[in-house]
Structure formats: C-alpha cells, structure tokens
Amino acid sequence: TQLLEQSPQFLSIQEGENLTVYCNSSSVFSSLQWYRQEPGEGPVLLVTVVTGGEVKKLKRLTFQFGDARKDSSLHITAAQPGDTGLYLCAGDLLDSNYQLIWGAGTKLIIKP
C-alpha cells in the first residue's frame, strides 16, 4: 500500500488547458516536496511546502499543502509542451527520522 497516493496516474491534455494533480495520504508530513522528472533524467526539485495551508507559486505552477499536512496539489495554468514529464511528490513523515516517502507519480503529457 502506497503511503502517498498520486492521482491521476496519467494525464494527457492539449496545450493551453489547466490541470491539477494530487498527492494524498492518511499520514501527516513535516514537509512535502514536488519533483519533475523528464525521460532519461533524474527528478528535479520544484518546490518544498512545510506549513499547513501554504500556497507557493512558481510561474504557471501553484502548489498547495493541505491544512492538516496530509495532502498536496499541483495546479498548472495554461499548460505547455515543456511541462511534459513525471511529477513526483515526496513527503517527510512526522516523527520518521526524516525518511522520505515517495508517491508513484503522475505522468503528464501536453500535446501541442
């Protein structure tokens, strides 16, 4: 059983559309990180959220950490082909000795 559930597993949309992907858990996290991974490369950190209810923006990407620090979402506005990739969330479980728990990822394809 995945401690961090990401949904959807796969999303294919047209350029210019908006989308939201989710990272959910029944566990509480000290912090949560979002990474993007392109084929043949390692994941690259996009953002870290640490406070319940926190919202962070990175150009067209908006990240939100749930009030209870059990879930997070990533919203992309006006998606572009360059946003294509595997989006991974990873959480630092509360009282876990800083063990990072990874979701299985959302594979996103933006068609031109």
């Binding site: 490369e41 390692g42 595997l86 991974l88 990072l100 990874w102 990822g105 594979k107």
Partner: protein, 113 residues
Amino acid sequence: EAEVAQSPRYKITEKSQAVAFWCDPISGHATLYWYRQILGQGPELLVQFQDESVVDDSQLPKDRFSAERLKGVDSTLKIQPAELGDSAMYLCASSLSSLSPLHFGNGTRLTVT
C-alpha cells in the same frame, strides 16, 4: 550549477554477472542516497549514507546488493549476481543533510538479459 555525477549512463549485462555503478555527489553534501526506479514509477530507496556511514539500508537486498562510501565522498553500488528483475534505473542523489532537498544524478539505466 554543481551536479551529481553518475556512471555509466547505460549498462547491459547478462544475468548472474556482476555490475557496479558509481556516484560522485555534489561537493560538501553529507547525505547520499541510492534509489531504484522502475519505468513510470516513483523511486524506491535502496540505501542512505550520512558521510561514510549507512543510516538506512532496510530495503537493500543484501544477498546480492552492496553499497559503500568509504571516504564519505563518492559511492559505489554493486549487484552480484544480477537477476532479470534488477532491470531498472538506478539513481543517486545527494543533499547537504537529511533535512535538505535532494539533488539527483541522471541515473544508470540497467538492462539484465
């Protein structure tokens, strides 16, 4: 910007053979991780080092996998003997500390035939 270096980029080996991967973390990063990632899935931690010490190898199949970071800098991950199910991407990551975000290398794609 400093990067985590991994080699080789690709490795094809026959089952029952030995294979080794090398990782050079970003200078000054005390924490080093080896992950295994199956295509389209999230990374699975194999081993975590703090300097030269192993702090978590609970998911490392110790009958065939070994990892070392002798001087607390670069690291080697070895598989002997390789099995078909070991085919995956092996990613190395480093961070300033276990509290810091991870910086990943571009991985070694292993194919066992």
